[in-house]
Symmetry: C2
Subunit: 190 residues, 2 copies
């Protein structure tokens, strides 16, 4: 029996991504965002949605570039902090001891200690409501070499990305592999 | 040491969502989509991006409504199948033995056996490139009652949503809770 929980963003799973930008003075800033995802394969694009009140919103409108630093489980505490504090009031890199690294491809910094990085140029901005959606073209994906297997493929259980569960405000790590895409369901094909 | 993996949608984690639509003849159809996410809190919206070649694209353009049925681990096989077959060639509900249920709120069907459902009206359509982005306003969230705790909050480890890892094409379940959002990082606040 299904029950109605109302019109709300009670949606599983959503990612935990750290959005890196420079402000007007060139100060690197980061914030945590879970309203985002991949939105196109060609050009390869991700989207992230921000409230106008965030410090990152102004940085993005100015610089039209951002990075996505994907945190591992071991940085879940810092990631959560990046979603609590504002770059208006503090330097979140200093607070956490993490290192801003200037992207060579886009006008934005990423978190040096995080193993999985996307470098993005803003190609569309969509007003939706409380949130504004920034479509970022992925100019490159970078990963720590030790996260790759012998064939150069990422080992997800080493990268250890984690998810957020809105509504109950809990983070979860990844569990067991369930099977291969475009293979697991093959037996059902008539 | 970071290495470049190129400009591609090698992004973790992405969701596995089943998009439900009716076609022109009123036949219910479902497809798996991982290019999507939440994109606004008010109005509450999710986004899903589809290639024009998909059967669902035409249904969405016609009906301007869709559901998101969030599969549990136990339905990972069916979810993968929904991403392999096309509604042009087959009836995926018949193939899998799952039940299309007509939403009372939007002109779209959802998967009756899946425990977590979003009912969405398309409010914006954005051309990005190979993919077209459909912004859906969430009209209601429905969940099986047995997924809720005594306070009416979802128990994520019962819902058991899972994620997809592009690039390596593997599905992963959820693991352990890592901590509460807006709490875990509190110690870092200066």
């Amino acid at each position: 029996m299904k029950t109605s929980l109302g019109a709300k963003t009670l949606v599983f799973p959503v990612p935990v991504w750290i959005i890196g930008t420079y402000d007007n003075d060139g100060k690197p800033n980061v914030m945590a965002a879970s309203w985002g995802g991949v939105c196109c394969s060609e050009p390869p694009c991700v989207t992230v949605s921000l409230r106008k009140a965030t410090y990152t919103y102004g940085c993005l409108m100015e610089r039209k570039a951002y990075t996505v630093s994907i945190p591992s489980e071991k940085h879940s505490r810092e990631a959560d902090y990046f979603g609590m504090a504002s770059g208006r009031d503090t330097d979140k890199f200093t607070d956490t001891g993490l290192t801003p690294v200037r992207s060579e491809l886009v006008d934005a910094p990423y978190v040096g200690e995080f193993s999985h990085i996307l470098e993005c140029k803003v190609i569309h901005i969509h007003e939706i409501g409380l949130h504004t959606q920034f479509i970022g073209q992925i100019m490159d994906v970078k990963m720590d070499e030790e996260m790759l297997d012998a064939n150069g493929k990422p080992e997800v259980l080493k990268v250890k990305p984690f998810i957020f569960a809105p509504g109950i405000h809990e983070y979860y790590g990844l569990g067991n592999p369930l099977g291969r895409g475009y293979k697991l369901g093959k037996g059902l094909k008539k």
